[in-house]
Structure formats: structure tokens, C-alpha cells
């Protein structure tokens, strides 16, 4: 076995996994705060990618991404205020159906606002070439890392880890955990639970925007478009493997699935075409059968 190839596959797998981790950690954050499964998470990626695209028409891409983040945060808060909060306390099926409806609404909104044409970051019309983040691709001792992989490792992975740390040690993290344990008790303690929940949605939208922007070619080779919704489906196996209510679990599971995908693509795909696409969902099946609370999820028994 070629050692440099293995190292390269590990690094690329981690880089992709970092993107999965950053998106899934935002998804899990919302679930922890509100017990709402956000089926529109892929559309959050789509909107985040389009916001980055819009900013990239006026600014260099790195600046555009940084400017898109507060917009994505505001979008998340808006969704929570306008769409989710009125439904809290309703039957869980109603809320699930509502987020599925939200996904369709956001798909349509993106189509209306940004149009159906194929786009590239920073290119206002077809005669322009794309803008990209500075190219950080390198080749060292036969180990090659693409610019996208390097950016994922230096931006997405630390962000996901930062989120985990903040949740554990910051004041907001403690407030969020209190709200997730019992919103009523948190309110009785004087915690502004609605604000905590709104911030969770905002952060989730920001994390999705980062993932969406990179998957839409912020570091080269793509563009925003509806295919992001297909890529966004990966969030569900990642979250289930991680334990669904564990942000650190989502980060670890994201990295793990990124690694498994990379090795599968390299070694299994030739013998079993399509296996890489199926593997995350096979993992979900196994997890649900043998360890329904995932890697780090709480062992909870719910009476329904």
C-alpha cells in the first residue's frame, strides 16, 4: 500500500468530513435547543451559498464569505421567528411537516431570487471567470491537498471545534444546555429562552452557509445551485451516527464519514459502483439497529 496515498486519502477525507461536521453541528445545535429536526438544512446551505455568491459579486471571495455569515445568521433568526416559533409546542409531526414545507419554500425562494441559471462565485455574467479563495493547494512528498481541502481544514474544522468548545465553556453554551434540558425551568430561572433559541438557529444557518459556500466552489471548481440540496442529505447520516443531540458527536461523525467516503471512493468504488453514495446510509441503518443513540447521544427512553 502506498503510504503517501493513504496519508493523502486521510487528509482529504478529513477535509470533506470537516465540511460535513460544520453543517451537521449546526443542525444538531438546533435539535438540542428546540427538539426540531430541521429538514430544510440542505436549503440553509443553498441560501448560504447564494448569499456568499451575491457578496462575491462585489468583494473578494474571502471577504464575501465573511460578509455572508452575518446575513446567514439573520436569515436563521428570521426563519426561527417567522416559521418555527409559532409551531413550538405543537405535535412533533406537524413541526416536521412544517420544516419539509420550509425546504420547498426555500427552494422556490432561491429560484425566484437568484434565477435558475448556472452560476459561479464572483461571476456576474457568462463572460467572466470565477473568483476564488487564494489557492492553497500543495504537494509534499507525493501527498497532494487541493485548495478546497486546505481551506476546509483551516477554516471549517476549527470552526466546528470552536462551536463545541463554546457550547461547553461559554455562558451562552450553558444557557443553551439549560434551555435544551427544560425550557420551562430555564424561563423560571430568568433565562431569555426565546433569544437563546433564536441564536441557535442563527448559528446553524451560519455553519450551513460555510459548508454550502465551500461545496459551491468558494475554493474553486463549482457554483451555487440546487445540486447542493443533494449534497446536503449527508447531514442526516452524520447527525444520526453522532447521536443526533450531541454537537461533539456530529463533529466526530462528520470526520468519520468523510474518511470512510474517501477510502471507499478509492478502494471500493471500482468493484462496487455506487457504494460510496450508499455507505453513509448503510451506516445509519446499522446505527439505528445496534446503537440507536449513536456514538455520543444521550441514552434516553421516551414514552410516546
Amino acid at each position: 500500500m502506498d503510504f503517501s496515498l493513504v496519508v493523502q486519502t486521510i487528509l482529504n477525507g478529513l477535509a470533506n468530513g470537516a465540511l460535513y461536521a460544520v453543517i451537521a453541528s449546526g443542525f444538531v445545535l438546533v435539535y438540542r435547543a428546540t427538539s426540531v429536526v430541521n429538514f430544510a438544512i440542505a436549503e440553509f446551505m443553498l441560501i448560504g451559498a447564494y448569499l456568499t455568491y451575491t457578496m462575491s459579486l462585489f468583494f473578494p471571495l474571502l471577504v464575501a464569505l465573511l460578509l455572508a455569515l452575518p446575513l446567514a445568521f439573520a436569515f436563521g433568526v428570521l426563519v426561527e421567528r417567522g416559521f418555527v416559533r409559532p409551531l413550538l409546542g405543537r405535535n412533533v409531526v406537524a413541526v416536521i411537516m412544517a420544516t419539509i414545507g420550509l425546504a420547498a419554500t426555500l427552494d422556490g425562494t432561491a429560484l425566484i431570487l437568484w434565477g435558475p441559471d448556472q452560476k459561479a462565485m464572483g461571476a456576474a455574467d457568462i463572460s467572466q471567470l470565477p473568483k476564488e479563495m487564494p489557492n492553497l493547494a500543495f504537494n509534499m512528498g507525493g501527498v497532494f491537498l487541493s485548495s478546497k481541502a486546505v481551506w476546509s481544514l483551516i477554516l471549517a474544522l476549527p470552526l466546528a471545534i470552536l462551536l463545541v468548545t463554546l457550547l461547553k465553556y461559554s455562558r451562552y453554551g450553558i444557557l443553551l444546555r439549560a434551555v435544551s434540558e427544560s425550557e420551562t425551568a430555564a424561563l423560571a430561572m430568568g433565562i431569555n429562552a426565546p433569544r437563546v433559541v433564536a441564536v441557535a438557529w442563527g448559528i446553524s444557518a451560519m455553519m450551513a452557509a460555510i459548508g454550502g459556500a465551500f461545496l459551491a466552489g468558494a475554493a474553486g471548481g463549482g457554483g451555487p445551485g440546487h445540486h447542493l440540496v443533494l449534497l446536503g442529505l449527508i447531514v442526516f447520516p452524520v447527525a444520526i451516527l453522532g447521536g443526533f443531540d450531541s454537537v461533539p458527536g456530529a463533529v466526530v461523525a462528520g470526520l468519520l464519514i468523510g474518511l470512510i467516503e474517501a477510502f471507499s471512493q478509492l478502494y471500493l468504488e471500482s468493484f462496487l459502483p455506487g457504494i460510496t453514495q450508499a455507505i453513509p446510509f448503510l451506516i445509519v441503518l446499522l446505527v439505528l439497529l445496534f446503537r440507536p443513540y449513536g456514538l455520543f447521544g444521550q441514552h434516553r427512553i421516551e414514552r410516546v
Partner: protein
């Protein structure tokens, strides 16, 4: 037979009713319809909406010229979201709702949907074409009412293999990368079979979803296989830019090649400099090529209607061409007094002498498809595809 006065009066009234100007006007007022099932939402919305734009332009052109033999031409549009189940439901709705005397053509979407609908289309004897260039559809013995308005994916692959023979000759090493879909798999057996015959070597094969997050594992295989050519098929610029970008970053110098749905300028827009030299098989005109009469027609129409004159995509151009040809078939069917489904088939078959304004080489069907295409090379400096061949018959290898 003797008729009494009452019977004569009745017969006279009936005859005057049948031949009255009112009846004639009613028949002429009945529209002639084309139903289009397009992906107006979802991952292929860019193609569906461009096609709809072209259909609307072409509809205006037909009706501005008096319709088809005085009958108004109408579009019936349904969205399938690039989903076979939704497309099938849309098709069923259309054929149940529309009268067979009015609905004389259906324009469908995707290889998957077209293959799913083909038996029913044949049963209904409904003239049909689609956005798909699947080889299976160009089979008049099995599907006598289906037309492929261009070369099949096999023909496109054939043209690319001819180019490989010209550039490298026997021993050329080819790597195949295609999507795990009906669309993606369509020409692969043909490419393998013909490559073996021509002395080419398939040194690797990669099957992926329609969209991928990272192309590095594929490029790693390219590095191991060291191909001279990489044929990419079954995507709509979701994978190609990522792949060529990563390949060039890693120093892969192979020539990348693609088919119709890779032939859009967005390839260069998304992949940047890495797209330079990408060769595509594409059989319509580019909107920027003002030497093509059809392009001038489109521009003139849009100018007259006060519509946006900026770049129209290849998906627009292909749809305009299809509508232009279908409208001509309707005119011929009407002139022959057979503006109905069987009449449309006959009229389409008679189009060999029709000049489609430079949008295709000619309208001579070979097994109900038009096997000629051109090869084009991406020129990133000018953000254009430059023709590198004249018309090539992809079926002749």
C-alpha cells in the same frame, strides 16, 4: 328515394350547419398544442427554464406568423422537477386532459422519464421527443413515434473517439468518469466496445453521483492510470469543473472530453483556467455565433419583443431548434390536411429538405435521430468554445 318537403328542409338545415362559417371558424379556432414536461425546479431547473424561454419565443414566432394554418399554437407546460415519478404523473395528466385532435406532440424530459414513458407513448401513437439523447430512444422499430433531435449519446461518444483516433491513434489510454444514472450509463457499453475495436485501452472507470463534494479520489486514480483522455459524461457541470480543476492542480495533463450537457459556457465560468482545452461534442449553434441564420432569427425576434438580448445557453438553443422543426412539421401536416398525430409522424419523416437555419447539419433522420455533431474546444481566454471539426457523423467509426 322520394323526400317530402319536411325531410328536404331538415337535410338542408343539417348541411348548412355543417358547412356554415360558424363551424369552419370553430374548427379553425381550435388550437394546436404541444405539451412540454420540463424540469422547471430542482437540480436541472437551469435547463428547464432555458428551454421554456425558447419555447415561448418560438410560440410567439409561430403565432405572429398566423399560427399553424390559421389555428393558434399553444404550449402546455408541466414541471417534473427532474423526477421520473412526477414526470409520469404530469404526462398522464396531459394525455387525459388534452384532446388528441389538439395535442399533436409531446416534448419530454430526461433519459429516465423518456424510457419510462416510451411504451405508453408508442401505444398512444404520440409524436415525442425529449431533452434526452439516449441511444435506446432512437429505435423506430420499437418506438415508431419517438424522434431524437440530434445525435444520440453513442454518436457523440463516437465523434469523441474519432478525435482520439486523430490525436493519438491506436494505444490511446482512456479513463471514463460518468454518473450513476440512466443518462450517465447510456453510452458506456458503446465506448468500451468501440475502444476495444479501435485499439484503445480503457485504463480506468469511475462512477459517481450526479453531484460530488470532492474530486480528489478520482484524480488520485487518474494519477495512477495516467490516461491520455478522460471522457466525462452524465453530468450538468456539477462534477466536470471540480474534476478538471483538481486534475490540473495535481498536474494531470490528459485531454478532458464531454458530451452535449458539458458544452455550456458555464463550464469555463466554474472551472476557470482549468477548463481550457476541454473538448465537447455539441450539435447546435452557440448564441454568440451570429453567422448562423437561426441565431439572427432569435435575436431579431427578441429585439422586436423587447426581450433580453444577452447570452442564451445551449439548453435554449437546442429547444429553439426542436420547436422550429416541430412547427415546420405541423405546417406540412396541415398542408397535407393531416394535422393530427399520424400526420405529424409523416411530416417529421419528410423534413429531409428542411433548412433549420444552421442549427443542425440537416434533417435527414437515420433511425429517427440526426447523427451529426461538431467538436468544440474550450477557449478560456475568450470564454467561448471554438469549433475544431466540421460536421462529424458520430455513427461512422
Amino acid at each position: 328515394m322520394k323526400m317530402n318537403r319536411r325531410q328536404v328542409l331538415k337535410a338542408g338545415l343539417a348541411a348548412s350547419a355543417v358547412y356554415s362559417p360558424w363551424m369552419i371558424a370553430r374548427a379553425q379556432a381550435r388550437p394546436v398544442k404541444l405539451a412540454a414536461i420540463l424540469p422547471l425546479t430542482g437540480a436541472f431547473a437551469f435547463a428547464g427554464n432555458a428551454a421554456l424561454d425558447a419555447f415561448r419565443d418560438a410560440t410567439d414566432r409561430i403565432n405572429d406568423a398566423g399560427g399553424i394554418g390559421g389555428r393558434r399554437f399553444e404550449l402546455v407546460v408541466e414541471d417534473d422537477g427532474y423526477d421520473v415519478a412526477r414526470g409520469t404523473a404530469a404526462f398522464n395528466r396531459i394525455v387525459q386532459r388534452e384532446s388528441p385532435e389538439e395535442l399533436v406532440f409531446v416534448y419530454g424530459n430526461s433519459t429516465g422519464l423518456s424510457k419510462a414513458l416510451a411504451p405508453e407513448i408508442t401505444r398512444l401513437r404520440l409524436p415525442y421527443t425529449a431533452t434526452s439523447f439516449s441511444n435506446e430512444l432512437a429505435d423506430p422499430k420499437t418506438y415508431p413515434t419517438i424522434f431524437v433531435f440530434g445525435p444520440t449519446y453513442n454518436d457523440m461518444a463516437g465523434a469523441l473517439l474519432q478525435q482520439i483516433r486523430r490525436q493519438k491513434g491506436r494505444g490511446a489510454k482512456i479513463f471514463l468518469c460518468y454518473s450513476n444514472s440512466e443518462f450517465g450509463r447510456d453510452p458506456i457499453p458503446f465506448i468500451k466496445e468501440q475502444s476495444a475495436r479501435l485499439g484503445f485501452q480503457i485504463v480506468g472507470e469511475e462512477v459517481t453521483p450526479l453531484a460530488i463534494a470532492d474530486a480528489t479520489p478520482i484524480v488520485t486514480k487518474l494519477r495512477q492510470a495516467q490516461p491520455d483522455f478522460v471522457i466525462v459524461h452524465g453530468y450538468v457541470l456539477t462534477v466536470e469543473p471540480l474534476l478538471i480543476r483538481a486534475a490540473r492542480e495535481q498536474g494531470i495533463r490528459a485531454t478532458f472530453m464531454g458530451t452535449y450537457y458539458s458544452a455550456e459556457l458555464a463550464l469555463m465560468q466554474r472551472a476557470g483556467a482549468a477548463a481550457d482545452g476541454f473538448i465537447v461534442a455539441y450539435h447546435n449553434a452557440y448564441y454568440y455565433d451570429t453567422t448562423v441564420p437561426a441565431v439572427e432569427q432569435i435575436r431579431a425576434l427578441r429585439r422586436a419583443k423587447g426581450r433580453d438580448l444577452s447570452y442564451r445557453t445551449t439548453y435554449y438553443m437546442g429547444s429553439w431548434m426542436a420547436m422550429d422543426v416541430i412547427a415546420e412539421a405541423m405546417r406540412r401536416a396541415n398542408a397535407a390536411g393531416k394535422l393530427n398525430r399520424p400526420g405529424m409522424i409523416e411530416a417529421l419523416d419528410s423534413l429531409g429538405d428542411y433548412n433549420a437555419g444552421g442549427q443542425v447539419r440537416n434533417m435527414r433522420w437515420v433511425e429517427r435521430r440526426l447523427p451529426f455533431t461538431k467538436l468544440w474546444r474550450a477557449n478560456v481566454r475568450d470564454v467561448r468554445f471554438d469549433a475544431i471539426t466540421d460536421w462529424v457523423d458520430g455513427s461512422k467509426l
